[in-house]
Symmetry: C2
Subunit: 107 residues, 2 copies
DNA sequence: ACAACCTATGCCGATAACGGAATATGTCAA
DNA sequence: TTGACATATTCCGTTATCGGCATAGGTTGT
């Protein structure tokens, strides 16, 4: 059995490097599909398919205007992933403090 | 072409729900393989395979002692993912502020 | 209505991923 | 050495995923 569908799990949607590129691009402002394809050197159908996945998990939003579709990142969904990783924050700060202390003992 | 191998991309390794469970369990303290399997109700070979993936991308570390292998989460690698999501932080805080402002205007 | 345009979807072949069962590797104790 | 124990790997069948190409939908302008 393969993993949970990309269309239902934000973590899985993020797993694809191309989709992370798209999210980064669309973070600051909305982009039409064709421009995304040009900017990231991808085929238009490929971009549309990735956007479809990102849309299904709520990582992007669309605004349709005539025959164009403007996509933009929905940061709140990325916050969900950020929050999950934050649960480990106490451990890596502890680790960083130990590394720092060791460095100071060494000099 | 499928996506980048789980063994080379931390984001991809994290995409599997079972592996996230393992990481959460191993965050506070190290665990031997058999205990992980019992705790999470998974088969031992399955756990070993997931740990292998997590080890390859550096998300866990091992300490071998006799015939046991104690695994623990390596928080620094999770920090890498955390850092990527942080690039979007300015956008979701902005979004939260707008929601808050709208709520206050409404009451 | 027709053509140009932008975007979405369907089909294809190749590939990686998963779980489960069996088995291999390695370690300890008698 | 032999057997019990802990973990790792291999094999197998099933399924999701990706890119590329062709094409379908929907919109605008003539």
């Amino acid at each position: 059995m393969p993993r949970a569908a990309t269309t239902s799990d934000p973590f899985n949607a993020i797993a694809e490097p191309r989709r992370r590129e798209i999210l980064t691009l669309l973070a600051a402002e909305e982009w039409p599909v064709a421009d995304i394809a040009t900017e990231l050197a991808m085929g238009q159908p490929s971009v549309s398919k990735h956007l479809r996945v990102l849309l299904d998990v709520g990582l992007v939003e669309v605004r349709r205007e005539g025959r164009q579709a403007f996509y933009r990142t929905n940061p709140m969904q990325i916050k969900a992933i950020h929050d999950w990783t934050s649960r480990f924050e106490q451990y890596w700060t502890g680790q960083l403090l130990r590394i720092k202390a060791r460095a100071e003992r060494a000099r």
